[in-house]
Symmetry: D5
Amino acid sequence: MKRAGILNAALSGALARLGHTDELLICDSGMPLPRGVEAVDLAFLPGVPSFAEVLDGILSELVVEAATAAQEVRTANAGCDALLSARLPGLTYVPHEELKRLSHSSRLVVRTGEAQPYANVLLRCGVAF
Amino acid sequence: MKRAGILNAALSGALARLGHTDELLICDSGMPLPRGVEAVDLAFLPGVPSFAEVLDGILSELVVEAATAAQEVRTANAGCDALLSARLPGLTYVPHEELKRLSHSSRLVVRTGEAQPYANVLLRCGVAF
Amino acid sequence: MKRAGILNAALSGALARLGHTDELLICDSGMPLPRGVEAVDLAFLPGVPSFAEVLDGILSELVVEAATAAQEVRTANAGCDALLSARLPGLTYVPHEELKRLSHSSRLVVRTGEAQPYANVLLRCGVAF
Amino acid sequence: MKRAGILNAALSGALARLGHTDELLICDSGMPLPRGVEAVDLAFLPGVPSFAEVLDGILSELVVEAATAAQEVRTANAGCDALLSARLPGLTYVPHEELKRLSHSSRLVVRTGEAQPYANVLLRCGVAF
Amino acid sequence: MKRAGILNAALSGALARLGHTDELLICDSGMPLPRGVEAVDLAFLPGVPSFAEVLDGILSELVVEAATAAQEVRTANAGCDALLSARLPGLTYVPHEELKRLSHSSRLVVRTGEAQPYANVLLRCGVAF
Amino acid sequence: MKRAGILNAALSGALARLGHTDELLICDSGMPLPRGVEAVDLAFLPGVPSFAEVLDGILSELVVEAATAAQEVRTANAGCDALLSARLPGLTYVPHEELKRLSHSSRLVVRTGEAQPYANVLLRCGVAF
Amino acid sequence: MKRAGILNAALSGALARLGHTDELLICDSGMPLPRGVEAVDLAFLPGVPSFAEVLDGILSELVVEAATAAQEVRTANAGCDALLSARLPGLTYVPHEELKRLSHSSRLVVRTGEAQPYANVLLRCGVAF
Amino acid sequence: MKRAGILNAALSGALARLGHTDELLICDSGMPLPRGVEAVDLAFLPGVPSFAEVLDGILSELVVEAATAAQEVRTANAGCDALLSARLPGLTYVPHEELKRLSHSSRLVVRTGEAQPYANVLLRCGVAF
Amino acid sequence: MKRAGILNAALSGALARLGHTDELLICDSGMPLPRGVEAVDLAFLPGVPSFAEVLDGILSELVVEAATAAQEVRTANAGCDALLSARLPGLTYVPHEELKRLSHSSRLVVRTGEAQPYANVLLRCGVAF
Amino acid sequence: MKRAGILNAALSGALARLGHTDELLICDSGMPLPRGVEAVDLAFLPGVPSFAEVLDGILSELVVEAATAAQEVRTANAGCDALLSARLPGLTYVPHEELKRLSHSSRLVVRTGEAQPYANVLLRCGVAF
């Protein structure tokens, strides 16, 4: 088996395929999945796995150059907003409806079991060289 | 979205298909997956989700009439053995090699991210009526 | 097998995949199925299973925040209208032709065996948290 | 839509394909589905649709020349046994374990929502000419 | 096997799926098949099976509320026109080119072996209740 | 469209693929289809198309060097036996059960709508050079 | 095996599916294949099989009512132009770029091994009755 | 397009996948295709392309270390035997029935249009280093 | 196995399918893959295989009549620019964003492991005759 | 894109799926691929990528507890043998024919472009905890 890192087979394959400027949505368990976008469903039970666990696991393997979250997260889920700010310094906020529209052109959705509101982020891939 | 319970789409479908005496393997992230058996890969990172979380989530939705674990779990992973004993009173132990052989005739494998040894159990479905 | 709840494998999987604002059509056996939308065909014979049985089974597992029916149901099928009003207080009515158009953007269709007119409803999913 | 009879698309197709001596299993919701056999999952909720509804619907469209049930049905589910005897005069009984083995060579399984024990029957198709 | 009626497996399945206002094209062996529409190819040899045989077989199982044929059939194939008029009282005629365009939004095409000109009809499904 | 001959797309493709000694079953509508063998379902209604029509259509395009029928056809369906004898001089008869066993190693099954007993023949392809 | 005529399985099937006014492109080995159009790749080596062999083989089985070639063929490949004129009296010429555009709405492409320029023709199917 | 060599897309891909000791059958148009073996159907018309053309094209791209033909070719098709002897010095002969059996373990079949008897050869791949 | 040249099975097949004016993108490991375009993923590790290795391997088998690169390569990756200029005399430069847009209408993407910036080129196929 | 490590999407997914005692074959470009085993084809040209590059890349991500090579490598390819000995201390040697047999029960084959003899190794996965 692998020495370390992400163990999920579908997710490992999908992450390796991403290129510069491709976008990836990490979302809570209630986010509507955009049609026609590859989705890896990690959700098991409400809260398992959490948005924070999945975000950190993906950031440790992926180069990210920009990120977008729903502005509603700032008031409705301050813990998640703090996490996003700490991990993604240049984070941009857009209305949640706009984030849903943007997700339709992403290349990959990773669905977590998170059960707190607005725990979603759209990551734009950077390049490792 | 669903009111409660298991959120994973593939797993929800697969559990609904199981009948009386069908067997289901819940396994740690290092267990070799038996060929030709439907597998739902919940593993994300080492330990996420844990064997305990997945076992409890599945037991809350499935009727189970018997269970089998590796006898090695008793000495090598006492915490997991305690969990299994608590949740599955009539648990049977077989050598780990035998458990692997038995897994080839199961109907479903649920792979967790568990990263402790011998955290595997083969559940035999009961019937709800 | 499962302890309780919806037993259909395809439907269990499809319901688990729905997110906030995704729409689901529960329809009678004569409703034209919108192209390209996942459909679970529960219809067996005329009236088996009924619209009422399927509606209640799905409402017990799904969070619903809004619903739309054909205004023709009010006069042509008062029993169904009474059921819809009882179960879905904020129900909206639109002309049947409009309901058919709206069904094209739904994520899932559940076809019942119902054999009475206008027994259709479009449910919009809410969120469990 | 169809004038009458079975409305389920997958089941209508599968029944039309059956030939003389092909076997069809109608089963309750807890019967383990034999691997590699086409299955039409009509089960919705426990008891919906019932074994009796599905049996009668299929008998009205299919020529049947022989039938086999579990001998356990005679004592454990007398109502179902009465139904089987009434509908299928030359019914043969075998032990439930043998019925499960026989189901592996059937051509089609129709899973009902029946939630009473031993409500299963293996039908052998006759020929219409 | 089935007691009576349409024996073709693919056609039996496809007919059961049709709903109110869905359209079905029955066509001669020279009609261009519209792209992306499910087609059941019953054509064997020129004239086998005939348009008349297939039309009558389908009308005996399907509720039809409207029908459209090519106006060219009236002069070029009077026998077929007489058949259509007898079976489908409210038949509408459109130019053959228009019929071809209309066929692109049908849900099902049934291709016969008919080898006489303009033996095509677009049936609009009614509802059985 | 094609100038003449067999118009069915699936059948035209399948016949072109047959080689020397490959076997083809032409059968009535009640014959059980052997598992895992490609089948072209020409059956529409009982008797449409007939075994005789399909046999003659295929013999006009295929080189046949041997043929096998059920010995039961000689007494139970003399008309069919006369047809087989006239078309296939060196015809061999075996018990019907044996014919069914032999059909499992055929490369193609063509199902007709024939509704008279024992109207089945296994053709062994010859070579055109 | 077949008595005579086209032996290729994929091509035999595809030709049988063509209807009146459907278009078929026969092309040299350098023609860009239009996306989304079924293609039968007969090309083996440069010149094997030739455009002339494939054209004649297809014309012997297909009813053709019109044909279009690139006007460049008249000067750049006089031998091919002579062949086209002899086989297809009412041939229309368009610029090669226009022929490529027209090929996108064809139903079938047959790629030959031809290695001389502008050896392409778009055939429009006629009807055999 | 490619500068030279084999132009067929499916064949180019399949040849690149062959390894040391993998076997490839080049056959005439009447050879029965072994089940479950990848087949590239180059046959167009009887004799097009010929066995000789295809053999030479493949030998120019493939390392071959051994070859087997039917001993019947020596008397029934001396021209083909001469070709095989010239191209494949260490050729082994086996009875035609044995050659058919051996073909079942080959990795690839290339079907030509050859219409002369026993024009078949089983090539065993060598290695280029 | 093959005597020489490109060994990758998927790539060998895809190259053989390309026609005159079809475009092929060879890219570094960070280029976003255009949706819906066939992609052959040769990337193993950063730098393995290099852009230069893959470019030379493909040019040795493909006729190329034009090429386009990102103008940013001239300053940001002079070594790659020198390679491109040496291999592809009439090279055109466009802004990198424009190159990404152009890649959406290519027929094939070959992803290398290259880990230096702007190592991408869009090749337009010529014709070998 | 990924920060580091293996970039190939198919290989990243396949490696993540391997469990304890699953076997993986890394092979040269001439090794026959075992049927029915998932294969990732990294081979581009002879020697690209090399066996050494691929071995080292995979060893850096995979836990390996045992390895088997062909005993012929010791004399026929001393460089490769030295590499194997350095990287895999407890390496076992078996005859090359035996290695080929063992490869049939592996879970994954990674084909390199290596063009030197006997550059193959079967790795048995260990576990990371």
